[in-house]
Symmetry: C2
Subunit: 478 residues, 2 copies
């Protein structure tokens, strides 16, 4: 806990310490999410490769996750590898169990965890299938054990299904939100919770289609990603169908679509046998589909796509984009200099963020147009601090940019931290003249921007003098 003096940059209370038992694809993903959100993590894993694998996962997370946000994440937490379960859990208040899906093994690990952890700690299993009552069967403190089921890659996908004791899941939901994730509390325990039931239904149907030679794995994936996958990334199934039903509504839609449930479409509901032949068929089709990429390449492509799509969803404040905007809002409130007094001719920090992978162009660096985006954002911050906030805009007044001159001095790269410092050069009547400097973490100036704005009436779209509270804020600048 050596970083208490630097916690000005912490998003959230950092008194949570995470203990992670099992650092595979899911456990390692949790580790990356915990660390990048500023929390300390103790890990126990019997796999001698665990350290290497977790560090790879962390590299993936560092290159993608910070680009989701318009502000810097808190300072990274401290990662400690432990040689016993006891060491990993004794100081932890959230214990993440991500070991293989064998019930007896999980139960025996809970025994050992509970022998050493605090009674207040939450023991959260990443299990995809087991119900809390099964996990708790032999436990003396069953209410402490819940399910917190995440989705791969855990450092990007926001969903976590929470199942178990209501008081514990309520506390867990607060932590999940602090991790920038979406807690979905399942109302009653059920095998495979919610999402994996849906996934399993599709998986079963997909296996039949491959088995029967109707489609290859590539063709099934294309049916998803060129089709309903695009719908489901932003609205789910019911909201999508609500639109399809039109003004006549959801009940009408069900009456139209419902009969299909009785049609022969359902004839393939029995379970396909996973013969060696079927497994080979799928594996070789998958090789043909994706074999030209290594797993690492596929991970990078997937992560860059997820970042770009989730950033796209921020525009309409929708789904995962709504969640990201909320986190931005918290990050902004906690950002370093909100207390600095605005004055003319003194620069203030307006932007502190990471360059998202989606800003990189064919030259391998941040595209020139995104420098304009950073400065545009910097001026938004100044305007908001002058009182020209969303409420003021809703009243019908705002500022429009009249001209902007950018000098490009140094290149910026994906994942790099960049900062903008903005000076109010002139603020007189309807005129506002800003000067921005963009710096990297070494303090090197990467670009400068001179931006001239005019205050406007949004109804007439013509310039006009600022109203209160902006007028007073401008007067108070000197």
């Amino acid at each position: 806990m050596s970083k208490t003096d630097s916690n000005v940059n912490k998003l959230l209370k950092n008194e949570i310490t995470f203990g992670v038992i099992g650092g595979g694809v899911i456990g390692g993903g949790w580790v990356a999410r915990f660390l990048l959100m500023g929390f300390d993590v103790n890990v126990f894993d019997t796999d001698p490769q665990a350290q290497r694998k977790i560090k790879q996962m962390l590299e993936n997370a560092r290159r993608s996750m910070p680009g989701l946000f318009e502000y810097l994440l808190p300072e990274e937490g401290q990662l400690t590898f432990c040689s016993t379960i006891r060491d990993a859990v004794s100081s932890a208040n959230w214990i993440c169990e991500s070991i293989p899906e064998r019930l007896a093994l999980k139960q025996s690990v809970y025994d050992e965890i509970q022998a050493h952890c605090s009674e207040d700690a939450i023991i959260a299993s990443s299990t995809s299938g087991f119900k809390p009552s099964e996990l708790q069967a032999n436990s003396s403190r069953p209410e402490q054990i819940i399910v917190a089921h995440p989705f791969n890659p855990v450092y990007l996908i926001p969903l976590v299904e929470l199942v178990g004791n209501i008081k514990t899941t309520e506390r867990a939901a607060v932590v999940i939100s602090q991790l920038g994730m979406h807690p979905l509390t399942v109302r009653k325990e059920i095998d495979a919770h919610i999402a994996d039931r849906l996934l399993e239904a599709v998986w079963r149907e997909g296996l039949w289609l491959v088995n029967d030679g109707i489609a290859t794995t590539q063709e099934i994936d294309d049916a998803i990603r060129y089709g309903f996958g695009l719908r489901w990334a932003q609205m789910g199934m019911f909201e999508t169908y609500r639109i399809a039903g039109g003004e006549s509504g959801m009940a009408h839609f069900i009456q139209q679509f419902g009969p299909a449930l009785e049609w022969p479409w359902t004839k393939l509901m029995n379970v396909p046998e996973l013969t060696d032949e079927l497994v080979d068929k799928i594996a070789s089709q998958s090789d043909e589909q994706s074999g030209q990429y290594s797993i690492k390449e596929l991970e990078h492509i997937r992560d860059d796509n997820l970042v770009a799509m989730m950033r796209a969803l921020k525009l309409k404040n929708w789904g995962a984009g709504n969640l990201l905007n909320k986190i931005d809002h918290e990050l902004e409130a906690k950002s370093v200099e909100p207390q600095t007094t605005l004055t003319q001719r003194a620069s203030v920090l307006t932007v502190s963020r990471v360059v998202p992978s989606s800003w990189i162009d064919f030259n391998g660096h941040m595209n020139d147009s995104h420098y304009a985006e950073v400065f545009s954002k910097a001026s938004d911050i100044i305007l908001r601090r002058l009182g020209a906030d969303p409420e003021y805009v809703a009243r019908g007044y705002s500022y429009f940019t009249v001209d902007m001159k950018i000098d490009y001095i140094n290149e910026c790269h994906a994942g790099e931290q960049v900062f903008a410092f903005t000076t109010i050069k002139l603020a007189k009547g309807k005129k506002l003249d800003l000067y921005h400097e963009m710096k990297n973490v070494q303090g090197t100036v990467c670009a400068t921007g001179s931006q001239f704005l005019l205050h406007v009436d949004l109804n007439s779209r013509k310039s006009c003098p600022p109203l209160e509270p902006v007028a007073s804020a401008l007067e108070g600048l000197d």
Copy 2:
């Protein structure tokens, strides 16, 4: 066919005329896609509201679809409402049947279509469930009738499942590609084709979850859109799981995941009965979830999200983004002035495009940073025409922007056509000085940009004189 003289702006051969029978949500979506891709359409629908509904659909399509592309789409085709099936199909070479899902009705409509249409025409049914053999049962020219199953909204979602006679579906695939869509030919006919089998499996499972009080419609939608929906919009199911399997591969993954197919997760495979109670439960949960938005508002939100996400997928040239980039490439090749000789001090058209909805900010107009994006794109076009194309960049040489000055003169709005005209002010040694003007369709100048670039060695990241073929291209400018 009065527009043959203006077909310089046509993406593709416009000798295809579409006849559409049934202009509801799906038929109307097809109409919008056909028209916006530059083709003429004749529509027959018995619904007296059909004209109004199709015009609404066309409005939705016009405000969203053109923003998917970095170039203007071809000039819109001509829409004609016909009072008989005969009028709608006699001059058509693609007949789109989108009437209700009643087999006998469809068969009788094919009778009438085939009595009046060309033997070469393709009759493509939008049916979600029927197999071609069922549709063709009473037909004298069965090979002419195929399934071409699209997804709502048809003007944005690229997937079309093709099923039927192999020669006919091969011809159909060419047309579907010309519509900017992804043809997925199903290897054997099967009820509900591919995608709807998967959708139906999820729908069935979703109904059980609502019925049993495990989750509400909102919670199920959240499980999708905060979770696997994000994965499926860019990779499908098999490629996603391939990554989860890691370097040990797909067969390993199936061995891990496969046993779940035998677990109790599958116990709910029988069909839920759609009692009035269940229908009411879903309808009222859906009202609570989405009732604060009208269907029209939801359509706009959905369309804007789809445009922003699909544009995001262009960055990695992945899935739907790969398809859009291919279309851009075709549109660029067909754009108006590729033959214009580049000279110094004469402007050439470099950008002709529509402002996507995702470029609009809180002031209700195109954000200042996207003006920089348009000018950045304009300079890319000049560079490519000078020989500094992707191949040249791959050799290790490119141009970097040193400074850019933008003057903002007029506002631009979503869906508006904008054009950039670029003048080479100076091209001497490693220096390149460009001047851009961005105009709207009325010819009003919306912004000007002065951009100074230097030729660089991408290895040293330092400026250097241009190599061939750029050096000669620059010399040939005067």
